[in-house]
Symmetry: C2
Subunit: 213 residues, 2 copies
Amino acid sequence: MSDQKLSARQEAMLEFIDSFMQDNGYPPTIREIGKACDISSTSVVNYNLNKLEREGYLMRDREVSRGLRLANRAFQGSVVRVPLMGRIVAGEPVPVPDGDFSVFGDDEAIELTSDIVDPHDDLFALQVKGDSMVNDMINDGDIVIMRPHRDVKNGDMVAVWLSDREETTLKRIYMEGERIRLQPANPMMGPIYVDDPSVVEVQGRVVAVIRQM
Amino acid sequence: MSDQKLSARQEAMLEFIDSFMQDNGYPPTIREIGKACDISSTSVVNYNLNKLEREGYLMRDREVSRGLRLANRAFQGSVVRVPLMGRIVAGEPVPVPDGDFSVFGDDEAIELTSDIVDPHDDLFALQVKGDSMVNDMINDGDIVIMRPHRDVKNGDMVAVWLSDREETTLKRIYMEGERIRLQPANPMMGPIYVDDPSVVEVQGRVVAVIRQM
DNA sequence: CTTGACTTAGAACGCGCGTTCGTGATATAA
DNA sequence: TTATATCACGAACGCGCGTTCTAAGTCAAG
């Protein structure tokens, strides 16, 4: 419908706006677009911008300098910055972040996109050290994205601290009456049964696992 | 050194610039910053902006309206769109994309950030179906990010099609003279030895694995 | 106290930049 | 031909917005 009604000039404008934003971090002015696309008059640029806006290729804020943004990038920009809190070792508890989380000044963090994790959660990331959790489909060097536990439901993949074994592990948790069953993610492995619920401390729920090579 | 020399006003300015850019897609003006942070004079905003620039928190383009960008976000913005080609099943070969890759119009794709994968590679993603590769630390539902194989080096994690078994699997590959050794990622599992190299077809190299829950 | 560095304030200058208007060229339809 | 729509041009208007200058209020060191 509004397909390929783009003139060569309009297509050049879109491409220039995209690269300009990539280079400078802010949109170009009408005159900058005109100079880059060999358009002598600002009104022509304005005319084509209105046309592109009507066809949905971009959005404009009237009476605002550089007040335009590409529509393709509308749903982008939703990049979540997850602080990398440290490492998770089998013999140590999970370093859960303090109450106050400083958005700025995090030198170590991981950027994820919104289709992997929910941007509204207060997430934190941990890198797995050692291969003690290899039976839980977690390898050495993997990065686990975790959310501080609020409500633990049966079947959730959680990081638990077993105080009697002094060991941290990632398992699926099931409350079976008095007993707690910790099921490895690997279906070929058997579960762990804990009769005393007090030795199981749920540190957080695992939202995602990322392995780079 | 340049640590916590930020006044409350400067911190508020940074936070406002960040949220403003998120909302509008372009940076605010000096007067917009002043109004949001209760600064009556434009020169004060200009003064603090210069200070923040000198300390490395942002970059300014002089004589340019809205000519500023946050330094933290300098390396961001590089969101890679990886097309999700389909599913990888143990009994079927990997659907490698055709030569022409259409950047636009991909309804199914995954967005990753540049610190997970290299934006310059021609990547594609596959979702693992079935738990036949559970011994390779790959679970049902996992998403593997792959790069079409160019040069396969020893130790690379690759997707191979074993024509004699009619099976696809993810293994680390090692050329040992005439013999090829396929090592599972799980160190508790033993390797597969293939004496006839013609039955091993390398489909691509695994760059990353993502598991969502 | 005085001195000097740091921060805030207000006002004015002047170009930047979106907008609008009038005009004209081209094209397809009646 | 005339009529209507689309697209392009140049000029002018006027507020937007970065810059600069002067002045003053802090605060710690001397």
